[in-house]
Symmetry: C2
Subunit: 229 residues, 2 copies
DNA sequence: GTAGTAATTTGAACGCTGTTCATGAGGCGT
DNA sequence: ACGCCTCATGAACAGCGTTCAAATTACTAC
């Protein structure tokens, strides 16, 4: 009734056994991430993975149903690590007693920028993905990871004393983070990376500064009325 | 000395000739745009284009060197049309005597959102593109079209009387537009399109409101000082 | 008209891709 | 020792972008 070689096969430490199924999956994902980083999505080839992992093409399809699933799994790892990086940055500032909202959000954005720069090939692949999923329409683990990022920003905004209820603060967090995201991606689709990093950071500083100032002055509630002042 | 059928071949109106080279190129681009809209970048196949255009595969490669070039040309057309749409929207407001900056920027963003919604398949393809061009590192026609969009926003910002020099106003325009872009794309990578449009618009309203309020209160100059007030 | 010539269209062919599946090898319980 | 079930294997298939020798067409010169 036990599926597979069920009973006495939990000894992995003994000798130099072949890799466990899960270990091999992680190895495949590590290789896939490296391939994506080097050459983008079009560099993720089944045969290359198989060769570098020391297995056959068919075995890759035994571990994952699709190359799409491999790509999605790599993206999940990236998003997960990005969230951890952001949380770590926030914890660092907390430890240093920094409570200023603008400062903390800039640090969060800086963590994001650094992360994107550290994954020049695979991050565009993360963004270009997503489109096709015939599975279910509902939110999945993918969205959960993105929401985790939003929640971190929302937590920072909560410290600032703007007159925001929970719903509106969440909206502001999504808005702010999507904007940072847009700045970073718009900046990196373009030219060389030389002067680009500086431009991106100037834009982020401007955005965050204006955003915080705007929230302080109640700009979040003004819809289309300029003469309210 | 005349290349090809050089001399007497400028009569196109006579009879029902086959399509001119340029006409055929435009037909191919129209087909390509439709294919991209229906199935994204991976739906742009040389054989499909050839079949729908009534020519052979080889002829497609006579008109364009690559499928990449076809894709890039389609993107150019889209960006060009988007710019024209934005300019038209601004002209409409001008004709109505609307000078309010916030109002005009919201109209600009609305034009952008409508345009993206009108091209659900090809717009992600525009964004996911760009990466590979072994040509030259310098800015090309692609960037020129993007800059034209930034210039429109900068023109709107010029009407508002914030204390911004040209350089800083251009930065603000790029920042604002990249943010709108980020909101739109972040919104459309996710779930269904049902409630999504509403969320996107709420975010844009919040962003623009906060941005204008922030500019009015000099948030563009504050770097990390909260107690300036 | 006819021959010659250059341009251009063509589609078969090449190499590559993701994916499948009959085959075979290998560990397990009995 | 035997059967059994599981999993790894890589040849095979369909489809892709791209090329290029050959065929077709369009035009000039006579």
């Amino acid at each position: 009734m036990n599926p597979g070689r069920g009973a006495g096969s939990e000894d992995k430490d003994r000798k130099s056994m072949a890799l466990d199924k899960e270990e091999m999956s992680e190895k495949v994902l590590a290789i896939a991430e490296a391939l994506l980083n080097e050459g983008g999505a079009e560099n993720l080839k089944a045969r290359t993975i198989a060769e570098q992992a020391g297995i056959s093409v068919g075995s890759v399809y035994n571990l994952f149903t699709d190359l799409d699933e491999v790509h999605r799994a790599v993206n999940m790892r990236l998003l997960d690590r990005l969230g951890a990086t952001g949380l770590a940055a926030m914890a660092d500032l907390e430890r240093q007693g920094v409570t200023d909202v603008q400062h903390r959000i800039l640090a969060m954005a800086a963590a994001y920028v650094r992360f994107v720069e550290a994954h020049p090939g695979s991050w565009p692949a993360v963004l270009a993905f997503n489109r096709r999923r015939a599975t279910r329409p509902g939110p999945d683990a993918y969205d959960a990871l993105l929401d985790a990022l939003f929640d971190i920003v929302a937590g920072v905004l909560k410290a600032g004393d703007f007159g925001l209820d929970d719903k509106r603060r969440a909206l502001a967090a999504r808005t702010l983070w999507s904007s940072v995201h847009g700045i970073v991606t718009s900046g990196y689709v373009a030219n060389s990376n030389n002067r680009q990093a500086e431009e991106i950071w100037h834009q982020i500083e401007l955005l965050v500064g204006v955003f915080v100032k705007g929230l302080e002055h109640g700009g979040a509630f003004a819809h289309a009325e300029t003469k309210s002042e």
